[in-house]
Amino acid sequence: MTTSIAAPFKYHSPDTVEEASGLLSRYGGAARLLAGGHSLLPLMKLRLASPEALIDLGGIDGLSGIREDGDELHIGSMTTYAEIARSGLVAERAPALAEAAAEVADTPVRNAGTIGGSLAHSDPAGDLPAVVLALGATLVASTAGGSRTIGADGFFTDFMATALGSDEVLTEIRVPGGGSGSAYAKLANKASHYAVVGVAAAVSVEGGVCTSARIGITGAGPHAVRSPQAESALVGSTPTAAAISSASQLGGAELAGQFNEDIHASAEYREAMVKVFTERALTAAFARAGG
């Protein structure tokens, strides 16, 4: 079949997160949340996804917006890429996130697609998963019974799979504070503009020495991952160009044997590009950290 018409589905527009979660429970895994839809609807039109129902989060008040909460930046899950990309607060506090949001697809997609939709979809080539890993963000998952937080490190579990329970709604992304510098660097797929390889880096420097480094990688493997070997190589060192270059050679070392391969890029190329873009992201992040 080569249809461009989705299979029939029911449509719900709940007013509250509790109601949305209740609907998820009721459909027992046969419903999908609609949070922008720029990934889900194309799959449905090709009938690669045929959910029984769509539960539109667009009518729920309070899921959108960017605010400071003490040291943290709290971003509602229904905040669009465009809002994030033009937020002065995000540009100042988490430039990697602003950069990544500005590089997602094109203007119409950025005006409709949301951070929560992107993270919960966990596309292996999505931009934002790498960024929340690097920033050490915390994700808030809510049900009718209450909320819990999930660390970004434990959120992306497999190819298009996350730690969200079947009735949980991702409601907020909390980015921790701290005087770090961050950046996102991406080799875009020329067709889809998804990441062939995308690397986000967040670093802290004190007295000329790197005190923390987090690297998130997307596009390269089955889901977004951190790169602990490259991170460890940097912590405690003086982030000279040579040190960054040397540490970048360990970028993606943990993905050995798992690099994606498709018509756009071989595993070998992705492995090499992770190193190149790790170096680019780190260089920009250290520059911002004043390192």
Binding site: T2, T3, S4, I5, P42, A191, A265, M273
Partner: protein, 785 residues
């Protein structure tokens, strides 16, 4: 008198306000009372015997009107024809709905008709087809080998035709030559992407037995002719309407299965039927372009003189012959293999090969981009081998200026040419010397930049009919016009050409307004309806102004001639004393004795005092068949930077100096060059249709097929030289395809130039980041060995 809308002025496009404001009628805007919707069930296998097709479930699905298998409509649907027939060519049967065997992913196997598109799509998924899957072959070179899967019983080794053209004696020239360079070149398969996909609405009138077919096509009259041939429905009872057509680039230049399927089903059901292609469906079921595997060589002397070119091409035709397919890799490829150069010896052999892929036919440029690519890449390789600057080798070998025809060794005669000024102008715009200096500096900084040239000659103004027929064309390639002056003096123009984005209305209004001296807005141009327009051929091969515009020009002269005779009669002077200028007929030397355009037109229709024997009315029809093709030319230059860490290429500058003869609307010509160059950059850098070995189209959507976007193209720097043709009275050559024809070799030449110090001699398109990264890595490794 020249006005703001005369020939040669950059008049804003008359059609754009409606096209961009949502008020135009594209195919999906056609809605008829009682209209049903068709969904086509397509083969998921590249090659399989059909054991059984069961449409019972689909037929019983909610909202379904009917479901048909190929066997159900076997009686009503003949084979889709090949309209270009070469000597000793095979013409395998091409059923619009397959019923014995499917031969590519996307081959139609059933059609479901329902009350809504949604119900049709739902029901289509319920059609059950039992397939006996067969081995498939997608590569033309592999397909001709013994033991390869066989598509059609009547085409052994999948070879549809072997075709040759040449001149001189290449083998003797190569034996004598001081230098022979050889290279294998792949011209990858592309997928045309008009912004509007194909679509059809068919209506049957039981009272009159008339079928009306709205279809998104470049060739309404040929669709009518071929529809009648395939379905047996009499041609005079078929009306084909091409409404606004949102782009074509060649892929809407054929009779398609869906056109005959919808027409026949509308008749069987006696209700209107609509089918609209989705983008992914179009990727499978609308023709592709290019797909050559070529072994090519060039010979010559150490002083930079080129003496010959030889090509052996495996041209992938796909699973069946599309309407013009055999003519593209042969006639439109081989005859210009000498390019703009003195090329005394040419040898060209082409194998047309059937494979388990979507049929391949014309895509903007159609054979000429493939030809130019081979020549211009070889010229660069030859320049490198002989140690000469590529600009100087081109200059040294150009055919000197000619104005009244130049016969080249393949036997065709170029109309007019003056190749050096276009090269000079392009080099001046670039500042070639300064670029080489910048390149040296960049290399010392570790940056990779390069410049690539492409000097070309193309065949345009497709016609003349007798020549085209001798080369295989199944239809006359003349063009027609009617000029109908209304009693109020307003003018209706009817053209057999069929625009799909080119701005014909504007250009034809300019021609009419200029020649008749009537206001621009008093002219209306009609096209795309076989019941309104006299027989026509359509729009392709950059022919509309050169052939169709000339037909219009000639009708306008006929109208003026008749009007002058009326004026002379009314004013009581001999015809030769009457002049016409800007809406006034006057007696020479006595300008106060005159009649206005409106008065003369009024006399033509009142008919109360016409010259003896003269018929009333003011209308003229012309069928124009030129004596030669037209041969535009020019030089394009690309400047490219390659990121040596990632292999990504960026076009820094793009300069195009074209010579398309006289120009009717320079803004429209610039726009066509922009679009063509963007497509050429797409082919050069990133587009490619990729099949798996078992025939699945892996680049099956825009998520995987890398069309260029605004960020992939630079600001275009354009100029023109003007060398009119004497093939037609306006001296116009045609400008629709220069971009795709000239561009891709300029891009690759620039990339190879950027890497030449690393010993890189050739890279096949597309220059993807990974391919360039590997090329750089391997070249550096080879240098350090």
């Amino acid at each position: 008198m020249t006005t703001a809308t005369s020939i040669g002025k950059a008049v804003r496009r008359h059609e754009d306000p409606r096209l961009i404001s949502g008020n135009a009628t594209y195919i999906d805007d056609v809605k008829l009372l009682g209209m049903a919707h068709a969904a086509i069930v397509r083969s998921p296998h590249a090659h399989a015997n059909i054991l059984n097709v069961d449409v019972t479930g689909a037929a019983n699905s909610p909202g379904v009107v009917a479901a048909f298998t190929g066997a159900d409509v076997q009686e009503q649907l003949g084979s889709l024809p090949a309209g270009w027939v070469l000597a000793d060519m095979k013409t395998p049967n091409h059923p619009p709905i397959a019923f014995e065997k499917v031969r590519y992913v996307g081959d139609a196997v059933a059609v479901v008709v329902a009350e809504t598109p949604q119900a049709a799509a739902d029901a289509a998924s319920l059609v059950e087809v039992d397939y006996d899957v067969l081995p498939a072959v997608v590569n033309a070179e592999e397909a001709v080998k013994d033991g390869a899967p066989q598509l059609h019983d009547d085409a052994p080794n999948n070879i549809d035709f072997e075709w040759e053209v040449g001149g001189g004696d290449y083998d003797a020239a190569a034996a004598e030559a001081e230098v022979v360079v050889k290279q294998r070149m792949i011209n990858q398969r592309l997928i045309p992407n008009p912004i509007e996909e194909r679509g059809v609405v068919a209506d049957y009138n039981r009272a009159t037995d008339q079928i009306t077919l709205w279809t998104s096509t470049q060739i309404p009259h040929l669709v009518r002719l071929l529809f009648a041939a395939v379905t047996g429905h009499p041609e005079q009872k078929v009306r084909v309407i091409a409404p606004e057509v949102g782009g074509g680039f060649g892929c809407k230049l054929y009779i398609y299965a869906e056109e005959v399927i919808c027409g026949v089903i509308a008749k069987l059901l006696a209700r209107p039927v609509k089918w609209i292609s989705g983008r992914q469906e179009g990727y499978q079921a609308t023709t592709h372009g290019r797909d050559h595997i070529a072994d090519v060589e060039m010979c010559g002397n150490r002083d930079g003189t080129i003496t010959g070119i030889k090509t052996t091409v495996y041209a992938n035709l796909g699973a069946y012959l599309s309407t013009f397919a055999p003519g593209i890799p042969t006639v439109l490829f081989g005859f210009t293999l000498g390019g703009p150069y003195r090329m005394p010896n040419v040898a060209c052999k082409v194998y047309g090969v059937l494979t388990n892929t979507t049929p391949v036919d014309a895509y903007r440029g159609a054979g000429r981009p493939e030809c130019t690519y081979v020549i211009e890449r070889l010229v660069d390789i030859f320049s490198k081998e002989t140690g000469h600057d590529p600009t100087e080798v081109r200059r040294k070998n150009f055919i000197p200026k000619f104005t009244d025809g130049h016969e080249v060794s393949t036997g065709v005669t170029y109309d007019s040419g003056d190749y050096e000024p276009a090269l000079d102008r392009a080099l001046e715009m670039l500042d070639y010397g300064a670029f080489r200096e910048e390149q040296r500096k960049a290399r010392s900084e570790g940056r990779l930049i390069g410049v690539g040239l492409s000097s070309y000659v193309e065949i345009c103004g497709i016609a003349p009919s007798a020549v085209a027929a001798s080369l295989g064309a199944g239809a006359g390639l003349w063009e027609s016009s009617t000029v109908r002056v209304h009693p109020t003096g307003k003018v209706a123009v009817y053209t057999g050409t069929s625009p799909h984005g080119q701005g014909h209305q504007t250009s034809f209004m300019q021609i009419t307004s200029s020649e008749l001296g009537v206001p621009f807005e008093d002219v209306e141009v009609f096209h795309g309806d076989t019941d309104k327009q006299q027989m026509g051929t359509g729009t392709f091969g950059s022919r509309s102004v050169a052939v169709g515009g000339t037909a219009l020009y000639m009708s306008l002269q006929k109208v003026i001639d008749k009007a002058k005779r009326i004026a002379a009669h009314q004013m009581g002077v001999p015809l030769q004393q009457v002049s016409y200028e800007s809406g006034t007929f006057y007696v020479e030397d006595i300008r106060e004795r005159n009649m206005s355009w409106g008065d003369v037109v009024g006399e033509a229709y009142s008919a109360k005092n016409l010259p003896p024997e003269m018929e009333p009315g003011l209308e003229a029809v012309t069928f124009f068949d030129p004596q030669n093709f037209t041969w535009p030319f020019g030089t394009h230059i690309a400047v490219l930077e390659i990121d040596q860490d990632t292999g990504e290429s960026k076009v820094l500058r793009y300069i195009a100096v074209d010579d398309v003869g006289n120009v009717v609307n320079p803004m429209i010509v610039d726009g066509m060059v922009h679009g063509g160059v963007a497509q050429g950059i797409g082919q050069g850098l990133q587009e490619q249709a990729v099949y798996s070995e078992d025939g699945q189209l892996l680049s099956g959507s825009m998520m995987d097929y890398a069309l260029p976007t605004a960020e992939d193209v630079p600001t275009f720097e354009l100029d023109r030289t003007v060398t009119p043709t004497d093939v037609n009275p306006m001296g116009v050559k045609g400008a629709g395809e220069t971009g795709t024809i000239a561009c891709s070799p300029a891009i690759v030449n620039a990339a190879v130039d950027a890497l030449s110090h690393l010993g890189v001699r050739h890279v096949d398109m597309p220059l993807t980041a990974e391919k360039m990264w590997r090329t750089i890595r391997d070249a550096k490794a080879a240098q350090s060995d």
